[in-house]
């Protein structure tokens, strides 16, 4: 638990989990959940590099803080768009959104 590789591996696994969710889940909210996982993986990466490699141990923390802020903003926008789509389709199943094609 005191080596970089371990944390990086955890973050890589989290990232892949998120990615699988994004591609697999039908529910928009579940996709958003998966995207949050991916963002967290990136944050974890920053924190790990921060602890073991970085010249200044504040930088990674600041990155993580801001990623949280961005994630909150993203969630707000995404959820509002999902709700708007829900009103239209009466569903938040992404596979129902298939009108645009060609």
């Amino acid at each position: 638990m005191n080596n970089l590789t371990l944390y990086l591996l955890i973050s890589a696994v989290l990232f892949s989990f998120g990615l699988v969710g994004v591609m697999m889940r039908r529910s928009l909210i579940a996709i958003l959940v998966s995207i949050e996982l991916m963002l967290n993986a990136a944050s974890l990466n920053f924190m790990a590099f921060n602890k073991f490699l970085s010249p200044d141990t504040s930088i990674g923390q600041i990155y993580t803080l801001f990623i949280m802020g961005i994630a909150a903003a993203e969630a707000a926008i995404a959820l509002s768009i999902f709700l708007a789509l829900f009103r239209q389709l009466r569903s938040i199943n992404i596979e129902r959104a298939r009108e645009l094609r060609g």
Binding site: M1, A12, L14, S16, V33, M47, T57, L65, M68, L83
Partner: protein, 175 residues
């Protein structure tokens, strides 16, 4: 603040394993469970786990922030969205095996890439390291180097709020 207390001995190791376990369990529930409410709860679990990892990585502050912002705000927002759209009661079509297979394949591919990167790169610590974990330094940085970011993120949040209000505003004409 310093993670030093947790860095040696059997107990901390056990704690670490538990935290990692929580993270992965949460992630698995978040991604694979079919009930959307459980997904969000799984996410909350995973985020708590990550917050624990942050503590292991030496920053209690960020860990607390993670709990506050992510678990306290984002997850709750999602739960609200679920309540508004009531997807729990919607019919659940069967999963397509092909879709699962392709997405798991892509996930494994990216995992492979990442593992390759992790093991093939010669990670080198910076030659000079300032090990300063105080929150004050973070604050200093926020007001010097990252002051622009600090200002801009408020703009981002403003835009996000305004946008969320406008888009989700119920408009009688639609549908």
């Amino acid at each position: 603040m310093n993670g030093g207390v947790l860095s040696q001995g059997l107990l901390p190791q056990l704690a670490f394993i538990v935290v990692v376990g929580i993270t992965f369990c949460g992630a698995i529930i978040a991604v694979f469970h079919r009930n959307i409410l459980y997904n969000v709860l799984g996410l909350a679990l995973a985020l708590c786990g990550v917050a624990g990892l942050y503590v292991f990585l030496g920053s209690l502050f960020i860990g607390l922030m993670q709990l506050l912002i992510y678990v306290g705000a984002i997850c709750i927002a999602m739960v609200f969205a679920i309540m508004l759209s009531r997807p729990v009661h919607l019919p659940k079509p069967k999963r397509k095996v092909s879709k699962m297979a392709t997405s798991i394949f892509a996930g494994l591919l990216i995992l492979g890439v990442n593992v390759g990167v992790i093991y093939k790169t010669a990670w080198q610590p910076a030659s000079e390291r300032k090990l300063d974990w105080s929150v004050k330094t973070i604050g200093d940085f926020l007001l010097t180097r990252y002051v622009l970011v600090f200002e801009v993120i408020s703009l981002v949040l403003l835009v996000a709020m305004l946008g969320a209000i406008i888009i989700s505003r119920y408009n009688g004409r639609t549908s």
